[in-house]
């Protein structure tokens, strides 16, 4: 039986409430709907269960949804822009800005970074600055490949700087930074969500204007231009959206690996289409399911072993992607 894209999207969507329930319920105590409602709208700081919910479980769930969908979208945008399935959200080096500034904050002891800002604000600043740099380049670099190379160079440059900083820092700082690079969904507090959601939805609104150009870009920039698409402008818009999403997510969660590259590819294999309205929705939903499932596993195994999210995404993700590829080839 051949399922239409709508049916496939609907089936994927049905999995979301299931994984959301699994994710929020994992832990020491049982919760009910009433408790969730209370912790959100009628918060009582003396009730321990409510505090755990509001300070830990709900932020972790929400940022998981945002990171899973945001990284998958960013990966998809970069893959279509560069016509390359190996591209991902970090290809232009925006995450390396976040990592560099996080390294400044954690390991250098420069008061500007360590006292006035926390790691998150520093990482946000780094992502913002690197986003501006790559946007600046995209304004006057004509060739996509040159842009890609500049992104990669930015990445190795800040990677080298981080190595220098690491070599001069002590074991405690080193461990703290290494753990940051492994990614975590537990660094956001409830009060930070208004601003995160604001940026997230701003990016999603801009995304609507890229659907038609993305569909045309599939057959190459020069062909898209013949169809009346303002190719240079769209390139800048796509980089802008990716910069907002990956910058935001890397700052709050660390550089979460794998999701951004794998999810759009799996979605393309599942849906067998190049219609980007389907690919965007599919990537968002599948990204959420995949990241929440990985994080659910992390928490399930929390008591026995301390697993970072990056290890889990690749541990279950890589075999899964290979399985899908083999299955589709057969």
């Amino acid at each position: 039986m051949v399922l239409t894209s709508k049916v496939k999207l609907f089936i994927l969507l049905l999995c979301v409430p299931v994984i959301v329930c699994l994710h929020i319920c994992v832990g020491e105590f049982d919760l009910n709907l009433e408790l969730i409602q209370q912790s959100l709208f009628d918060f009582n700081p003396t009730d321990t269960n409510q505090v755990i919910l509001r300070d830990f479980r709900i932020p972790r769930l929400l940022i998981g949804v945002i990171a899973g969908s945001g990284l998958a979208i960013s990966g998809l945008l970069m893959q279509t822009l560069f016509n390359n399935p190996l591209a991902g959200p970090y290809i232009l080096g925006i995450n390396s800005g976040a990592s560099l500034f996080a390294a400044f904050s954690i390991m250098t002891g420069v008061t500007f970074f360590s006292s006035q800002f926390g790691t998150i604000t520093s990482a946000l600043l780094g992502a913002f600055i690197f986003g501006l740099i790559i946007l600046g380049f995209s304004l006057f670099v004509r060739s996509k490949i040159s842009l890609l190379l500049i992104g990669v160079m930015l990445g190795s440059f800040s990677g080298a700087l981080i190595t220098v900083i690491q070599s001069m820092s002590d074991a405690f700082q080193l461990k703290k930074f290494t753990i940051w690079t492994m990614g975590s969904l537990q660094q956001v507090s409830f009060d930070e969500f208004p601003i995160i959601l604001l940026f997230y939805f701003f990016a999603l609104i801009l995304l609507i204007f890229t659907v038609k150009p993305l569909n045309a870009l599939v057959i190459g920039e020069s062909q898209a231009a013949l169809l009346g698409i303002p190719v240079r402008f769209i390139r800048i818009l796509l980089i802008f959206i990716t910069a907002i999403l990956t910058g935001l997510i890397t700052a709050y969660c660390g550089p979460i690996a794998f999701v951004g590259i794998a999810v759009p590819n799996v979605v393309k294999l599942l849906f067998k289409t190049q219609n980007h309205i389907v690919l965007i929705l599919g990537s968002m939903i599948f990204g959420v399911i995949f990241l929440l499932f990985s994080d659910w596993l992390v928490q399930l195994l929390w008591s026995s072993i301390h697993l970072p999210i990056n290890a889990v995404t690749s541990l279950i993700g890589a075999p899964f992607v290979i399985f899908i590829i083999i299955k589709k080839l057969a």
Binding site: I208, F209, V211, K212, N215, A216, V218, I219, G220, S222, Q223, A225, L226, L227, G228, I229, P230, K268, F271, K272, T273, Q274, N275, I277
Partner: protein
């Protein structure tokens, strides 16, 4: 209709000039010239990728330089000689991309857009391929799909860069004859470059020759020049 008056074509330095040339609807024009003498540059100039070094030309009585990207995409389109290889793109969806200048914000095709896709596939006799993926069909079929996309774009002018360069003999003849049929049936200007002189002379298209010696473009109606003269002028 395309009108060119005293136009110089070239990248940085002038490759050739055109004194006066009118391309009218319902006719097929073939551009013939040696390699590196500016065929592709000329075609790129017509579709607006390059500006002429000197002079202006008009498309449908509108100056080319004044056309916005959107307006241009409804008047003139271009088919490259080699088609892209894309995963997961079905022939019908590829052809439907030709409707991009006319569709809404998210690029959804309505029923009249789909009708155009269906009739264009029928005209090129590739309806049976509509659900195939683009990377599963042959080069000849891909070329037909690309021409079909250009038809769906509803432009008065279709320009093709060596449309038969990668095709075998029977596919070449098929493409040439279809182009002629399209020009007459759909009343379009069709201009393509080609090195396949024998087929073109047989097809009786209008000829645009890049004169090697005078660096000018020369126009010959169908059947008004012999093969030996043509080769003397262009090569």
């Amino acid at each position: 209709m395309i009108l060119l008056n005293n136009v110089e074509i070239g990248y940085d330095k002038m490759l050739f000039e055109i004194d006066c040339l009118t391309l009218i609807k319902g006719k097929v024009y073939t551009l013939i010239g040696a390699n590196g003498k500016g065929k592709t540059t000329f075609l790129k100039t017509l579709v607006g990728e390059l500006a002429p070094l000197k002079g202006v030309f008009s498309i449908d009585a509108l100056k080319s330089v004044d056309l916005t990207r959107g307006e241009r995409s409804k008047r003139i389109t271009f088919v490259p000689s080699k088609q892209v290889d894309v995963d997961f793109l079905r022939v019908k969806d590829f052809v439907a991309l030709g409707r991009t200048p006319y569709t809404n914000l998210i690029g959804m095709c309505n029923s009249s857009d789909y009708l155009k896709v269906v009739s264009s596939l029928e005209l090129l006799k590739i309806s049976h391929l509509k659900d195939c993926f683009l990377n599963q069909i042959s080069d000849g079929e891909k070329q037909l799909a690309a021409i079909s996309k250009a038809i769906v774009q509803d432009t008065d002018v279709i320009i093709l860069d060596e449309p038969t360069a990668f095709l075998d003999y029977s596919n070449r003849i098929n493409v040439f004859e279809l182009l002629k049929e399209i020009a007459i049936k759909l009343n379009k200007v069709i201009l393509f470059s080609s090195h396949d002189i024998d087929s073109i002379l047989e097809l009786k298209t209008e000829l645009l020759l890049l004169n090697q010696h005078s660096k000018k473009m020369e126009f010959y109606s169908a059947n008004t020049i012999s093969k030996t003269d043509l080769i003397k002028i262009a090569f």
